[in-house]
């Protein structure tokens, strides 16, 4: 499984580095940054280049409607790969920890990692 993270700026590259602090170096993963001034076409070409080769591909993007997402769905019209959006730290760790991760399961598990800690503890001062 090849993993490609496409984000606004270096968020994806740094996210991958941070995740690797926990799960170790991921040889089959890379991140692609969209920087101010980069064209969607240029981004598309960099993603296509990263997709080169055989095997299954999973693409993580940062946000629905953003250029990394828009360019990825443009590519998805022509070739099959898994596409997720809303990538975050716990999600990516969970993904790398399991072989042959089921994507539906990954999304469901990830939703459970978003927690308003005070609420869970019953420690909320209303009005603040």
């Amino acid at each position: 499984m090849k993993t490609i993270i496409v984000t606004h700026g270096d968020f994806g590259r740094e996210l991958l580095k941070s995740v690797e602090m926990i799960v170790g170096k991921q040889e089959n993963a890379c991140a692609i940054s969209l920087n101010p001034g980069d064209s969607p076409e240029g981004l598309k070409n960099r993603i296509l280049e990263a997709m080169n080769g055989t095997g299954h591909i999973c693409v993580f993007t940062d946000m629905y409607g953003g250029t990394p997402f828009n360019v990825s769905i443009d590519i998805l019209q022509d070739r099959y790969f898994h596409l997720l959006t809303g990538v975050n730290f716990p999600m990516l760790i969970e993904y790398f920890m399991k072989e042959d991760m089921n994507m539906d399961e990954l999304v469901e598990t990830s939703k459970g990692t978003l927690v308003f800690v005070n609420r869970e503890m019953g420690h909320v001062q209303e009005g603040k």
């Binding site: 606004h8 064209s39 969607p40 946000m63 629905y64 409607g65 953003g66 250029t67 997402f69 828009n70 769905i73 443009d74 998805l76 019209q77 959006t85």
Partner: protein, 153 residues
Amino acid sequence: MREIILARIDDRLLHGQVVVKWIPHLEADVVIIVDDELDNNPFLKKVTLTAAPKTIDIKVTSVDNFSECFKNVKGRILLIAKIPQVFENLINQGVEIKRIVLGGMGSGDNRKNLYRNIHVSTEEMASLIKLADTAEVDIQIIPDDKPRNILKI
């Protein structure tokens, strides 16, 4: 209540700045993307509609089917199209558009640079000037930018 609070020209249509900045700033209830190409691409249209966060109500329509789409929405509406001629067409159909902003028009296709990331062809400029007869037309990439009136550039 059904009111078009803003019509935005942006050849990226929906993208990060629109989702994060414009929709909350305008307190828009509905975003209507008016684009024949997207409307005629079932795959991209489906992704645009189904992958949207639950907090955003998005519609996609062709220019010809706009009135059909418009009568089924309520609230504060943001329109997005790639080129000014789309809004000119809608105004000719009787649609009321009071304010238009230019948010992003890429270079190429005989376009000349107007301001920062805004490029226009002769036809597009003519259309913008026509639009300025009945609407306020500004360059404003994000809500925080000071609007620059198209007639004063």
